[in-house]
Symmetry: C2
Subunit: 441 residues, 2 copies
């Protein structure tokens, strides 16, 4: 890897001469102002811009003109290797990548060399007081690159931990697709006997405002001590560090690009609240309890499913394309109670006649599909479109990917899609599960 | 139209003999229980199920066995015709269809013959005390069938009203795609001089819980009396009838399938609150004020835009398909801060190289795209993907449809997509605009 990636010409020469590489802490003096930060790779087409990550986490570009650069500190760490077999602990910590494991990425600006969980522990020494942990770096990807085949690998790895003596399992994961993975594990792992908690952070652990530490500590604490036996997502409950929530894996969604409390339960309440400072867990909803069942794993997923969001002007040709391309399922994010333009009715019938499962969810996110109220809905039902109740579109997608790989008979698969398996369908009234909106005074 | 649509065999014979047709109020006696309701079309493959809409608005199917049916009342009305030219009024009321205009649809179960707005007034007599209105039934469609070409027709019709003496314009619209239409009018109409308020209802006006009456009255009141000169959406602020909100047309989203307060402002606050009982309007946010500008209309939209939601396992082939099919724009609903799997980077570059505009929004809905934080984002930017800030994906789609039809030069179009035109991009800090979630005690 080029240690001065993106830098060219005179500026590169200056940096080389000062023995500065990407990731070093540098001091820039320009017209009497001093700026301290970490040298980042250049993303400019211009040769004379120097990119620096400030201490508050923001990146800036400064033009190299009337400017002095000094090296303050070489802070790239040698990648630590875990030597020998990790000691067996109380909690299994599986790292898959993401911001929670991105210290090195931040300092070098590179994607690939993510931090090992071992190194997180170095940053969060309290971990040692919470639980003896066993660490495994399964892979190290940014979660936007997550794929069904990785869900299979995580499922198998988690399963190994379920049948061993660990009290619980924690999975470090990027937040972008965390809710998809929590759904995937909710379907691939059955007869779950202990907590399986997915944890991430919205700000990396090298930033003062990072949520990595509290989220990780809370997840480890709950994995060891809570009576949960489901897949949960563990993230901040509020912007402050007051408490952390455990959300049901099939009912959670990333609802904000950057807030620390971005993850929220939809159409229901979180499972539990963790007040870590007091080492206290408060139950909020009913959930499956820790037990001595023998867990099962069905790790396969079929990628041939498309998530199709409906909008005015959309052409039904996309359905014919998907069917003819060999897709086996389509999850529709319909409008309102589960509708699509009338020109889709024939197209969905074509899909259905060709053995492609079509399920209807709603782009409203909150509430429940009800295709019996209006004529369009009734016609869609007659075309074989499955009404997916209050399942989130993302959860429905993952469920169908799992169903296609594990259930051969199409009628059985249809029934499976309409049946609650892992808390993804809520039969109770949903109207009250709606957040309070700010409408001023 | 078959007046006993869907009924066959013996049951049809019984209904015919009793002179009952769809839409009649009937009384069913079965094992000592009496059920009153309106006969609906049959949607069953079985011959012996009778479908009835109960007084609470719900539909049930009852098996025809040990059952008596009586006709209580023939309630189909003759369609009323508006005779002669409507009297010129203070507010122009344009009907496009939807639940707010669906009384007849409900009683007959049919889609096509929607209620004229004139008939709504019959149900909501207070309208006469609020404003002299002029009514025009532009078309009568369920809003899931809304298309860009209809946006053009609505734009032209609204424009006519802007340049006439009306104090404001109200548009009755189905709720499924109401927020898309409000965005469309926000871009097609410029130099707006008076209120343009889109109104709908979540429950039709024949149901006791209907929100149609209060929403319509509030919209007419605000159209006549408020100092707004923007496109707004007028819907319930709470489940109760306490107040109605006016949301900015480019910032509003249907966030619940069925609640009366389903419409909410995202990444901001509503424009105003209307307490109709007190005939009072409370300003919440800043907005463009009533003025004497000469309005302009640019009614054309280009449908060749696709809204692509990213998910784990999605194949980048969809991008090549769209480009090769002649699409001119793709709005991506990326993950997190605006990401897609790395295999999309090349595909988006291909789109960009072929003159297809690619814009990035976030499926988180709340927050703002920021593609400078992680490597994936920076690589996507280099592929020509436009970071659409805090624009809603649906608004971005409509904006690009409008831009393609009205701006020839691609660089100018790119700048247009990144520039706030009608309140769709919020430059202020967004972190605080997040609803309060229910986490129990």
């Amino acid at each position: 890897m080029d240690k001065l990636e993106g830098y060219r010409g005179k500026l590169r020469h200056v940096l080389e001469k000062a023995d500065i590489v990407i990731g070093d802490k540098i001091l820039i003096k320009k017209r009497g102002i001093e700026i301290k930060g970490i040298l980042m790779p250049s993303i400019s087409r211009e040769d004379d811009i120097i990119f620096v990550k400030l201490e508050n986490g923001y990146n800036i570009g400064i033009r190299y003109k009337d400017l002095e650069i000094e090296k303050v500190e070489s802070i790239i760490r040698e990648p630590r290797e875990i030597k020998g077999e990790p000691k067996e602990g109380e909690v299994m910590l599986i790292s898959t990548g993401g911001t929670i494991a991105s210290k090195v990425e931040y300092t070098t600006g590179a994607v690939r060399p993510a931090l090992s969980v071992d190194e997180i522990i170095e940053f969060v020494p309290e971990v040692k007081d919470i639980a003896k942990i066993t660490v495994e770096v399964l892979f190290s990807i940014l979660s936007e690159n997550m794929k069904p085949e990785y869900w299979s690998r995580i499922s198998e790895k988690v399963y190994e931990s379920l049948v061993k003596e660990y009290k619980g399992v924690v999975i470090a994961h990027g937040t972008d697709t965390m809710a998809y993975t929590s759904s995937a594990l909710s379907f691939s792992l059955r007869r779950i006997n202990k907590p399986i908690l997915i944890v991430g952070s919205q700000r990396s652990s090298d930033r003062p405002s990072s949520d990595a530490s509290l989220n990780l500590l809370s997840a480890l604490f709950a994995a060891k001590n809570s009576d949960l036996a489901e897949v949960g997502v563990v993230m901040h409950g509020e912007p402050s560090d007051s408490y952390v929530l455990v959300h049901r894996g099939t009912k959670v969604r990333k609802m904000h690009t950057s807030r620390r409390d971005a993850f929220q339960t939809i159409n229901g309440m979180p499972l539990m609240k963790i007040i870590f400072d007091e080492r206290r867990i408060i139950q909020i909803s009913n959930y499956r309890k820790r037990n001595s069942d023998v867990p099962e794993v069905y790790p396969r997923f079929d990628e041939r499913v498309f998530l199709l969001k409906i909008f005015p002007g959309i052409s039904e040709q996309i359905v014919y394309y998907l069917v003819d391309k060999g897709y086996k399922g389509i999850i529709v994010e319909g409008t309102g109670l589960g509708h699509s333009p009338e020109n889709f009715i024939e197209a969905f019938k074509y899909a259905n006649d060709n053995g492609v499962i079509v399920g209807m969810s709603s782009q409203c996110i909150f509430g429940r599909v009800n295709m019996n109220v209006y004529t369009t809905g009734r016609l869609l039902l007659r075309s074989g479109v499955l009404p997916l109740s209050d399942m989130l579109p993302e959860t429905a997608l993952v469920k169908l990917m799992w169903g296609l790989a594990n259930i051969k008979d199409l009628d059985e698969l249809r029934r499976f899609m309409l049946t609650n398996v892992s808390g993804e369908i809520n039969d109770r009234e949903l109207m009250s599960y709606f957040p309070r909106w700010n409408h001023g005074n």
